[in-house]
């Protein structure tokens, strides 16, 4: 576990709802997890389970009509030894100076699509120098020097020339490397990578994941890896959070999640990974049904209509809270109710 046992970031019962005219969408509905320095937390789940909104909530960049309606996001202050020295990001003014220092300075974000994550009309260097100058006192020349250095660090050849190029001039892999260089250029303590390899081909994926691991060790950062790719999770993560319809259904150490999954949803997810040992021409198991429409959340446990182990009269009545199911592992499921 972590060096001093205290998380650098602690998300408590986070609720982020969207209020379009048609009704309320509970994109994140009571998510809790911790991020420890130097370690990697994986957040997994299907599309629309609230992974990305969780990431945006942490940085307070949720777009209207969404907003955080409850919960806390405690970020430990830099160099703080006093455990009480945290700041609740959920209470900050999203346009204020304090959160702006944290964005990019303490917590950086890497997106799925590196092509559209860069401005189409500004060079990569322009965006890097701008960010470095916002967070440091470096002058233009020094900021550019650091930007070139960062591009070299992420393995971009001839960084002094690439820096003046535009995102569309780079290949997909180089583009994502440049995005990572941009995110890390102010040495953040936490890197949130939202599907960082989804848009890349498999070879490039492996390279980018290697790079992330290497940089994490070098910079001693915490990494929050958001993905629906369980292979990536197994390879990269120390702890795993499984989300379904805005709720954390199971969390625990990566080995426990993969070898002793407790929540029926986690089990179903793991069953749907193709295995090289499976006999040929067998149908890959899928999760029955589909994700409910966001305006039509089922009552009780959100997974009960698709759950193979559903307990009628219980799961459709009330929502289960997290219950300990192993060392450092919890699952929100009535199967593990101590006194049924």
């Amino acid at each position: 576990m972590p060096t001093d046992g205290r998380p650098i970031l602690e998300v408590r019962e986070l609720r982020t709802y969207f209020f379009p005219e048609e009704g309320t969408v509970k994109a994140v509905d009571g998510a809790s997890f911790e991020v420890f320095p130097g370690r990697t937390l994986g957040i997994v789940g299907e599309s629309g389970c609230g992974k990305s909104v969780t990431a945006k909530s942490i940085l307070r960049i949720v777009e209207r009509p969404g907003r955080i309606v409850g919960g806390a996001i405690h970020l430990r202050r830099e160099g703080g030894t006093d455990p009480a020295a945290t700041i609740d990001l959920a209470t900050l003014d999203p346009a204020g100076l304090e959160i702006r220092h944290i964005r990019g300075g303490d917590i950086a974000l890497v997106f799925q699509e590196p092509m559209t994550s860069f401005s189409p009309v500004h060079s990569i260097g322009n965006q890097m120098v701008e960010m470095i100058r916002v967070h440091t006192r470096l002058d233009k020349a020094a900021a550019r020097e650091r930007a070139v250095e960062m591009l070299r660090l992420v393995g971009i050849p001839r960084p002094d020339r690439r820096i003046d190029e535009y995102a569309f001039q780079l290949s997909g892999g180089l583009r994502q490397r440049a995005m990572i260089a941009l995110a890390l250029s102010c040495h953040p303590r936490i890197l949130i990578a939202d599907e960082p390899t989804t848009a890349l081909d498999v070879t490039t994926q492996a390279q980018i994941l290697d790079l992330l691991r290497h940089l994490q060790a070098q910079e001693r950062m915490a990494v929050v890896l958001i993905t629906h790719n369980l292979g990536v999770v197994a390879e990269m993560c120390d702890e795993v959070v499984v989300m379904y319809l805005g709720r954390v259904v199971e969390r625990g150490p990566v080995d426990a999640i993969f070898h002793a999954p407790k929540h029926p949803y986690t089990r179903a997810l793991l069953r749907s990974i193709p295995s090289i040992r499976a006999s040929v021409r067998t149908k890959l198991p899928t999760i029955a049904g589909s994700i409910p429409h966001p305006y039509n959340r089922p009552p009780g446990c959100p997974f009960h209509p698709r759950c193979p182990d559903v307990i009628r009269g219980v799961c459709d009545r009330s929502e289960p809270g997290p219950r300990p199911v192993g060392p450092g592992q919890t699952a929100s499921c009535f199967l593990y109710e101590e006194s049924p």
Partner: protein, 330 residues
């Protein structure tokens, strides 16, 4: 790049040639010529034109020649920098247009400046604060601006000015300055007359520009590059102005092609209603009188300016948009 520019230039020359042919044909298309409308005008005012006089006039202006000869004679003149005589005014075309060109440009440029200065901030606000009260107000006023014809607005304002202030608010000068030589007092008089036509001419354009800017910007605001810019800790106005607004402005570069001819012609109907001494009404009169030299020159001028404007906006796009500039170069 140079080959591209050379090709564009060659095409531009070809286009301008096509414009000269077309404008000549269109002006020649109505039955009769300047002489017939001159005769009609004279007899309407009780005058009389003898047959000999008619023949002499036709010969003088080359109207007795076949069409293609007339066209070639006109082109030869134009290529030598002469544009002929404005028949109705009995003065060189260049002088007649030149008198009005500066005033037209003053009015048009004022209208364009007002349009952009109003439309850009309103459009940006409307997009960033979509569905806010301010956005609804801007949308409402904008649709009115789009729906009401400018000449109607001009008529209403003229009526109101006459009824409640007993003042004729048309024109660009008070009566005593209209024919006076340029003095500081005349410039001040012009400045006092300028706001009304500027607002009338700018209103519809502003409404249109607000709608376009709002739509362009709304397309961009949700893009990942805006979210990542915000996630880098930039202030909100810097995020908005540097990234999505910059991208949303690109399409406007292609409108320069239409702005240029507008600057020299102005709006014909509004100018007529407000009695503005600009080039637009001059063109209308020349067309009615079938004055082929004057009308031809104005139409040619507008055509050339459209082509030049389009060429300029292409250059501008190359300059501001790296996606176009670097296309095909990896």
């Amino acid at each position: 790049m140079l080959a591209y520019l050379a090709r564009r230039l060659a095409l531009a020359v070809l286009t301008i040639w096509a414009i000269t042919v077309l404008s000549f044909v269109i002006i020649k298309l109505p039955p009769g010529d300047y002489i017939t409308s001159y005769i009609a005008q004279m007899s309407a005012s009780g005058g009389f034109v003898s047959e000999a006089e008619v023949q002499a006039l036709r010969r003088e202006y080359g109207l007795d020649q076949p069409g293609y000869v007339q066209y070639l004679r006109w082109m030869t003149m134009v290529l030598h920098g002469r544009f002929g005589v404005a028949l109705e005014w009995k003065r060189p075309v260049s002088e007649v247009i030149g008198d009005r060109l500066w005033l037209t440009m003053v009015v048009s440029v004022a209208a364009i400046v007002v349009t952009w200065a109003l439309a850009m901030p309103i459009g940006i606000y409307s997009a960033v604060r979509q569905y806010s009260t301010g956005d609804y107000v801007a949308t409402f006023v904008g649709f009115i601006g789009l729906a009401v014809p400018s000449f109607m607005l001009a008529l209403i304002l003229l009526y109101l000015g006459f009824k409640y202030f007993n003042a004729s608010i048309g024109g660009l000068f008070s009566d005593r300055y209209a024919e006076a030589p340029w003095t500081l007092a005349k410039v001040w008089d012009l400045a006092r007359h300028l706001p009304l036509p500027t607002l009338i001419l700018g209103f519809a354009g502003t409404a249109q520009l607000v709608r376009i800017m709002r739509a362009n910007l709304l397309d961009e605001l949700g893009k990942p590059y805006v979210v990542t810019a915000r996630a880098r800790g930039l202030s909100e106005w810097r995020v908005i102005l540097k990234y999505p607004v910059r991208v949303a402005l690109n399409p406007f570069a292609s409108t320069i092609g239409y702005l240029l001819p507008y600057i020299v012609s102005g709006s014909i109907i509004v100018s007529l209603v407000l009695g503005l001494p600009t080039v637009g009404p001059l063109l209308l009169r020349a067309l009615i009188a079938q004055d082929m030299f004057l009308a031809g020159t104005i139409v040619l001028l507008l055509g050339v300016l459209t082509v030049v404007g389009t060429f300029l906006s292409d250059l501008l796009l190359l300059w501001i948009d790296p996606r176009i500039r670097l296309e095909g170069k990896q």
